[in-house]
Each structure stands twice: as structure tokens, then as C-alpha cells.
Amino acid sequence: MNVPRRVLGQLSLALLIPMLATACGAATPAPQATTAPAAPAATAVPAKPELTMWTWKVFHVPGLEAVAKNFEAKEGIKVKITAFNPDEVYRTKITTAAQSGDLPDILSYWAGGQWELAATDQLVELTSQVDPAWKGNFLAGTYEKSSVLTQAVFDTCQKDPKCTYKNLKVGQSFSVPYLAGQAFFVYANKELLTKAGLDPNKAPATADEWMEMMKTVKAKTGTPGLVTGVQNPDVSAFWLFNPLLMTSCGPEKYDAIYNGNSTFSDPCALKVFNWMNDLQTNDLWMPNILQTNIDPADVAFSQGKAAFDIGGTYTLGFLVSQGMKPENLLSFAVPPLKGATLDKLQVSAFALIDAAVTKNSKHPSEATKFIQFLTTPEQMAIFAKTVGDFPAVKVALDPEKIGPVLVGLMSAFSDKSPFDTSKAQTLDEPKKVLELGLQQFITKEIKPDDLVKKIDAANKAAWDARGGPLK
């Protein structure tokens, strides 16, 4: 009786061990995944490779395919574009593909977020390949700002015990930007301004004037003043608070506050918190604003449910697609508070999406050639016109080539935005307190004085945990 049991046990183990080993082994990337491209066959003429590219923006696929078609016509190399969305699915797809060695040749990634991939040897380094000619294609504030590892990002990483890309060096580059944008735009509904007796073509010079305009619209038409995707906690902080803080305090103080060398209770910052709190005390937000995300906010604005909408360059195309006429829109950058350090916010583009070549690629030189081709002004113009989105490359401001809407937006850009030279590093913990606090203004749960104390405490604790403020 004992013998067969043992035999059964051995049989089970014999089956189990190889299966477990196989399952566990799968977590390790296949050796070929990180090797150099295979040598061409000795006899036959090597076939032209077919490249793969992933993105998470479904509506970018036609634009990328149009460029891929031109690339195939020129080089004879096919590029297959695949989209995975939403964002979480794309992130998971990349994480699992990186583990199994199945990343595509070319990867679209969030600009400035590529360092984790680069640090784990998943991306081909482009530092020496992006020569001055190629670099010269990019808009100011895009490639140099987020595709090259800057001293500020490096310093913050070195101080943070949890940073996962400490092995990278200042100046290294692993990707190039192809999509840019800017978020600090306000759109006004001219019809509503006219109904309220306001000049529909006059943008407010200050945030205080802007608030008065919202109050007037509300009083005269009953329509709420402001809508934006407040449900997304980044929106209030990044789209509205930061531009107001930058103009109110100026670039140096702005950096000092975020980097732990000054405080949010500084009068210039407190004025911004008070202004944002006044939006609620004056009942200017659209009802249900905390349940309104970015796209629903734009839809509500296009339906005339609010007089003003905060968004970015990408918002205009969406509003037009929702049936708004461009001539019914007045757009302006978030205006500074009265008496602010900067009397006007210069707005420039920043990179949103980068393209990188992965080390999984068996054809890295061809893949690099494709992203270089993609980021030429001619191809970026085709991409921009096809998808109606903003390229990270200097394209000809020709309505025929990129459409009238993008021409208007690009003309309004400056190459001297204070955000381009800012070295502010926003840490996760104070960012959470700030984002939640701005939402709590709307729920009337916190006052500006109390919020600044909480953010300052969180910012200090976060920088202390990283060895002190960033100098």
C-alpha cells in the first residue's frame, strides 16, 4: 500500500516540477528579446523588415498610418500600427510585454515617463543619434525638456530612495517627441458673453476680470461660469492652479515653493488659493462639477451649459467635433491675478507623447529611421492634419497643410514660457494633498488658510524623506 502511494507521489512531482519550471521561466525575458538584430541570411536577398508600433491613442492611428504609408513608399519598409486603450490597458500591456520580451519595434509613451523603461534596458539609446539637424525639428520646450534627462530630474531621482532610474545619466535620451500640446487655455462661449452684455471679442486681462465676467454671465443668463474636468484630480491643479501660481509668484518663487525651499503659505500663493476658493463661494462652477471628467466637461461647454471651459490645444478640435463653431469661441491663456509678478502668461508647447525604439526590435536601425522620418516637418504636418492634433515639430503654418485651427493655436505660442525653464519637481504626496484640497474647496470642506498648512506639511515631509529640499 505504501509503495504505490510513493509512486503516485513521484509521478505527480515528475509532472508538476517541469510545469512549474515552465510557468516560472516564462517570467524571464527570452534571450533573443534583448539581442542585437539577427544577421541576414547568407544566400537569399534579405526581405525588407516589417516594423510594429504601439500607441494608446486610437484616433492617432490614421495619422500614423498615413506616415507609415509614405515611409513604405520611400524605404520599402512596412510599419504596422496597433492601438491599445484605455491608458491602464496600454500600461499593463507594455508591462507584460516587457517581461515576456514581446515589446514592439517602436513604442509610443508618455513624454517624461520613459525613464523607467530606459533604466531597465528596454529602450535603445538615441543620445548620439539625435544630431543637431534632427534636434532642430522640435518645438522649443519639447525634446530638450522631457526627452533628455535633465539635471533637475536626475537630482530629484538621486535624492529619492524609491526612484527606479538612478542608473541613468544627465543628457541621455531614449525617445523623441511627436505630439505636443498646452493645457493652459480658456475657451469662452461668445454667444453667452453677448447675451450677458459683455464684449465677446475681449479676453480678460486678469483673473479678477475673468471672475467678474463669470459672475455677470451667471447673473444675466443664469448659466454657470466655469466647467472643466474637475473629477480628474490633475485638472484643477495642473490646468488652473499652476499657471495662476506661476504668474502670481514668478518662476523663481514657483520653483522654490514646489522644491521645498519656500512655502505655499507665501502671500503670492495664498492669493491663488483664495481666488480658486472664490469660484465656489460665488457659485460659479457648473453643477455636479466634481462628477464631471474632461470629455463630459467639454461636451457640457459645447452644449452651452457654462460660459468658460479650461482645456488645452487638444480641446479645440474636440469642441469643433461636438458641433461648436470656431467663430463662436474666444480663447486665451489663463490670465494672471491682479498685481501678479508676471503680467501675462507666455504659453509654449510641451511634449505629450514620445516615440522610442525598443531593445526587443530586431531592426533597431530601421525603427530609428522611421521615428526620424515621422518627426520630419513634412510628415508631422500630414499627421497633424489627419488627426487634428498638435505636432511636437515645427511645421509650416499653412492652413492648407495642417488646417486653420492648428495654425491659429500654433501662432499663439511663445518660445519663452516660464514653464520651459522651470526646475520645479512636484512630489506625489503634496500633489495628492493639493489636488484633494482644490476639490475640497468645491465641497466647502476646507478653507485656503487650512489647505496651505496641510500642503506645506506634506511637502516638507516628502522632501525630508528625500534628504531635504531640492537646491
Binding site: T28, T120, K432, Q439, T443
Partner: protein, 330 residues
């Protein structure tokens, strides 16, 4: 001769052993049939559980090398964190630990209110259905509808009902109860968002609880009710003295499964409020999702939070079982 003899002598035991092995394999064929399931469990169940436990002691963003068999953790993408992940959200980092405890508080409020709500709604419905003569099948079908409707569609319909100009506010206005309206929408106000979510949870949980209660009611001997009538018991006494005690095992199952799903679930919160307004509906499950699939991809932190939640769910289940065991065994 000697060899032949030895061969003759040695053969019978060999035959006997082979027969015994085949016999025993036949006798234990069940084990072989179960083996694929066991192997599947070991690989996809136990292995992933152990993987998650080990991962909770590391910082890992999902890109670098991390495996448990053979063990590998390549810095800087993977770093040993010891108990730091647990300390971070439990007490060490004031901001993040504050959010964790607040989310846990929401989970516990939901667990209690939703469980009690489901029992209070499902039991009377089950009793009514049990007594219904004609049309019982139609009633059962109707009560089952929330169970068979796709969750995502239901959540969106409820979101529309809760909007400032949604159905609920309109009904209140029509009834002359305009003062009770939620002007910012039922999911947009801190005081109404969590209760509004709990109503949807109760609405979604009632059908299955009703079916369980109905099955339980049909096992109760009708003679008990007849005898109690002779003894002069009224309907209320019948409910408390006969129906409720005999349905206690069913109630325990409903309580444990409801608490379990409420504590672990996050899908409804993700789709309807994303934890808002201003964190008033944030739950631990949603935090785990944000840690694991947000832009930071803190997979170790997500695992650590999951295990903290597991300990809570397990403890609640044990307490429930202990609490009700003595009563159900009577």
C-alpha cells in the same frame, strides 16, 4: 538449475508487484483525475498568491527583472523594501496613510450598511414571493433582473438617475420635495455620494439574497407554522420564532458573501465616482488599482495593500462564522 529455480522463485513477486501497482492506480484513479486541476491551481492559484506575498516586500515598477523561481530582483527597477510598503500606507507617510484609513472606513461603512440593507429588503421579498400564489414565476423573474443585467450598463443608468437634472431630483420636485434634492447631483455631494452608491449596491445584491432566502423558506416544514397558529402565535412571532432562526444559516452565507464582495470590490466606485467627490467614496480596492495601474506602477505597494485588505476580509469572515456558528448549531 539453480538459476532457473531462482528465476521461478523471483518471477511471482514481480508479477505481484506489477499487478498491485495497476490495481492501486485503478483504486486511486480519482487522484489522477484531480491532478490536472491541482496542477492548474498550483500554477495559477498558489504560485500567483506566493508571488504576490513576496512582491509585497519589494518595490517594483513592472519593467525590470523580478521573479520568485528562480529568485531575481535587479535594481534599480526592483528593490527590497522589507516592511516599508506596509509601513508607508499604514502609518509612516501621513498623507498616504490618511487616505488608506479613510478608504478603509468607507469600506467598513459600506459593508455594514449594504449587508443590513440587503437582508432587510431581501427577506420580506422572499417571504412575500413564497406566499404568492399565482404569478410567482413572473415575480421571481422580475426580481432576478438586476442580477442578469450587465453591471456597466446598470452603473451608467444609475449615474444618470443621480445627476442634478436626473430622474431622482425630478421625482422629488414633482412630489413637492424639492428641498430634499441634491443640487450638485447625488454622486457630486459629499453627504450623499456614499449613501447613493450603497443604494446601488443593495439594489444589486437583493436578487441573489432573495433567491437564497426563497430556497431556505421552502425547506421549512409548514407543520411548524400550523402548530404555532394552534399555540396562538401571530405573524410577527412566527417570523421571529420560526422563520428567522431557521433561516440563520442562509443569513450567514449572505452576510459573509456580501461583506466579502463589498470589501474587495471597486468596479462600481471606479465607474461611478472614481473615489470622488473629493475622496468621499474612495475604497481600498480602488487605491490598490491606482497603485498597480496608475502612472507610478507601484506593484509592490499594490500587493502590500491587497494583503492588508485580505487580512481584514479574513478576520471579518472568521468573526462572522464564530458569531453565528453557535446559533446555527442549536
Amino acid at each position: 538449475m539453480g538459476q532457473a529455480q531462482a528465476g521461478v522463485i523471483s518471477r511471482p513477486p514481480n508479477n505481484k508487484r506489477r499487478k498491485t501497482l495497476i490495481q492501486h492506480l485503478r483504486d486511486n484513479a480519482g487522484i489522477l483525475f484531480v491532478l490536472p486541476a491541482v496542477i492548474t491551481f498550483l500554477i495559477f492559484g498558489l504560485y500567483t498568491v506566493i508571488y504576490s506575498i513576496v512582491l509585497s516586500f519589494f518595490r517594483w515598477n513592472g519593467f525590470g527583472k523580478f521573479s520568485i523561481l528562480p529568485f531575481a530582483c535587479d535594481p534599480p527597477a526592483c528593490q527590497f523594501a522589507g516592511l516599508d510598503n506596509f509601513a508607508y500606507f499604514l502609518y509612516k507617510e501621513p498623507t498616504m496613510s490618511g487616505y488608506f484609513w479613510q478608504a478603509l472606513q468607507h469600506n467598513l461603512i459600506m459593508a455594514v450598511v449594504v449587508t443590513v440593507g440587503i437582508v432587510l429588503v431581501a427577506l420580506p421579498i422572499a417571504i412575500a414571493l413564497n406566499r404568492a400564489g399565482r404569478g410567482q414565476t413572473v415575480y421571481r423573474l422580475l426580481i432576478m433582473l438586476p442580477m442578469v443585467t450587465a453591471g456597466i450598463a446598470v452603473f451608467y443608468v444609475w449615474s444618470f438617475i443621480y445627476e442634478p437634472d436626473g430622474l431622482l431630483n425630478s421625482v422629488l420636485e414633482t412630489l413637492g420635495l424639492g428641498f430634499a434634492q441634491a443640487k450638485q447631483g447625488w454622486l457630486g455631494q459629499p453627504d450623499t455620494a456614499l449613501p447613493a452608491l450603497m443604494v446601488v449596491m443593495i439594489w444589486g445584491g437583493v436578487p441573489s439574497a432573495t433567491i437564497l432566502y426563497l430556497a431556505g423558506l421552502q425547506t421549512i416544514d409548514k407543520d411548524l407554522y400550523e402548530a404555532s397558529v394552534i399555540d396562538g402565535a401571530n405573524a410577527w412571532q412566527q417570523l421571529w420564532q420560526i422563520t428567522w432562526p431557521l433561516l440563520l444559516p442562509v443569513t450567514v452565507v449572505i452576510i459573509i458573501t456580501t461583506i466579502n464582495s463589498v470589501l474587495q470590490g471597486y468596479e462600481m466606485v471606479y465607474l461611478m465616482t472614481y473615489g470622488g467627490p473629493a475622496g468621499h467614496t474612495e475604497v481600498v480596492g480602488l487605491q490598490i488599482f491606482k497603485y498597480g495601474f496608475g502612472d507610478q506602477r507601484q506593484l509592490g505597494m499594490a500587493s502590500a495593500t491587497s494583503w492588508a485588505l485580505f487580512v481584514l476580509v479574513f478576520a471579518v469572515a472568521v468573526v462572522n462564522l464564530r458569531l453565528f456558528r453557535s446559533r446555527t448549531e442549536v
